[in-house]
Subunit: 336 residues, 2 copies
């Protein structure tokens, strides 16, 4: 391993000056600067990040904390999108990304704060962490800058980023109403998740605004799981055959619903219309193609990390950032 000491020796110059030359400081002459840089290149010098991070007490690294890169969890491509967005942004500012996942398996899991401290990390983007996770609490109470994606909590030094979930789901349900649907059920995710609450609010808003009675029985929770949605949908449409439309709080659940509906011998959208949420790749390939609320997860990851960097640099940021969404009309909704 070639170090700045080696360069210094070869150039007959002090270590200090080599360091300052390589970092392009003003107080080293253009001549020596050029000399040193050429020697560095010639010797194949690579700066040692550990040493840099140790002495500078920071590491040019952003953390992303995820609920888990699970074997079967990635079908929706959401995490992938956020990740790639984050990496894309980090690259533009010469930062790196450290990915930390909470393994459900591992009992003695490490605290998020600890992870960041270990690595001299300045701040974290957080997604998919359960709000009752004790380590999440600890993170919120620490003064590490955090950007929370799709979860609304207040911490010591946090901000939130997401689409306007209320408006988006309201829009989705209004679209169904516009297509003359009145008996509209909702397959929601986990009751506790803040996005679920928001999306439910939008559903109710749309119904009441159109003078449609909100029936508690039409509202079921499927944990954002395809399989659960499949079962709940089956029960639902057997119990309430008058239902003509379904609003699902995620595309994965919508896919489960679609399967359930087909399985009951009904047709989509002729018998029952379905609207999803997220616009995951699968939704475009299902039959029928799923009408859904489109979110740009790549951009979300990109923006989240951009916000984070601002916070790390003590620049002012908005506490709540709302990104754009879009209703994507495809083939799973019909006029009745």
């Amino acid at each position: 391993m070639v170090t700045i000491k080696d360069i210094a020796k070869k150039a007959g110059i002090s270590v200090t000056t080599v360091s300052r030359a390589l970092n392009d400081y003003y107080d080293v002459s253009p001549t020596t600067k050029a000399l040193i840089q050429s020697i560095a290149k010639e010797m194949g010098y690579v700066p040692n990040r550990s040493a840099q991070s140790l002495v500078k007490q920071k590491s040019n690294t952003l953390a992303i904390i995820l609920s888990g890169l699970e074997k079967e969890g990635g079908k929706d491509n959401i995490v992938y999108g956020m990740l790639s967005g984050m990496y894309a942004f980090a690259e533009t500012v010469n930062y790196e990304v450290a990915l930390f996942t909470t393994s459900t398996a591992q009992q003695k899991k490490k605290s998020y704060v600890q992870f960041c401290k270990e690595h001299n990390i300045g701040g974290a983007v957080v997604n998919g962490i359960r709000t009752d996770d004790p380590f999440f609490e600890e993170l919120l109470h620490s003064d590490l800058p955090c950007v929370l994606i799709d979860v609304f909590m207040e911490g010591k030094n946090t901000c939130n980023i997401s689409i306007d979930n209320v408006k988006a789901s309201q829009q989705a349900v209004e679209y169904l109403i516009k297509n003359n649907h009145k008996n509209i059920a909702m397959i929601n995710g986990r009751k506790e998740a803040s996005v679920s609450v928001e999306r439910q609010k939008g559903y109710i808003n749309a119904l009441t605004a159109s003078g449609i009675e909100v029936k508690g029985d039409y509202l079921v929770y499927a944990d954002y799981l395809e399989e659960t949605a499949y079962e709940k949908t089956k029960e639902l449409i057997k119990k309430f055959p008058e239902i003509t439309a379904l609003f699902c709080a995620s595309d994965m659940m919508a896919l489960g619903s679609i399967r359930a509906i087909k399985n009951c011998g009904l047709c989509i959208p002729q018998d029952i219309s379905v609207v999803g949420f997220d616009n995951i790749p699968l939704s475009a390939y299902s039959t029928p193609a799923l009408t859904t609320i489109s979110q740009d997860f790549y951009f979300m990851g990109y923006e989240a990390s951009r916000q984070l960097l601002k916070m790390i640099n003590n620049e002012p940021v908005k506490k709540n950032v709302f990104l754009k969404h879009k209703l994507l009309e495809r083939d799973s909704v019909a006029m009745i």
Copy 2:
């Protein structure tokens, strides 16, 4: 930040002993060990990875080098699968993973070797890098341990991991032949990629073994892209209406082919049968569900990193590791 010095002071004990206690060395008494560990916990001590990595000259980190976490590239979920497998393994051995992607955009991209040196990384898992990438060449010539997924090249300190692509595609085509197909075309990927070569070999093997003439015109390249496959398939089935079956070297291309076939007013599998390759999530949701060769990318990432760690620790490893595959019969193939 609380350091071992702080602990030493509080415990009235030397820094050396604190370090050795925390690392559970044999030559510190159980009493002091317990004392120090409790003080460490109480003070919220977190070891500084930079300092550790600096002094130990290594970092307990595995690199994964990918061709890019691109916005649109992740639809097949393959990279995600490998990633999660790698993280899962790394966790079991208390290692971390550093992800490095080659941005097509960024001109002044950094060499892979440089990245590893900077971070004191002991070795890398590599996937999807073009074989003519100069930095890839450099990596192969370096003595960094490398596990190459799905690419067959020999380096100074490398090994390869993949399924038996020849056998797998041979099996796929044999399956079509068993269903009485004789005019079987193949949509292959990039001609240069080694997996393409292998899969083509399997295709030809199967045909010749059954005494079916291999027609050069039946073999087209679509770059592993859905859209290109769509177009090439259209041309193909217009030009050669006798074709009754298609073997595609990837599921993404198969999805393009399916769309093309439908678009020509033909039915799958009644008019044309299709077999894909990979078993990506989308393949199960397409209509008809795609018959395909199933690979376990999670396991591939897991095994690749397991191999890598062995190489880093100078344990002996096999030069070529073949993982299992499986022909997954679904609904896109019919007997004629």
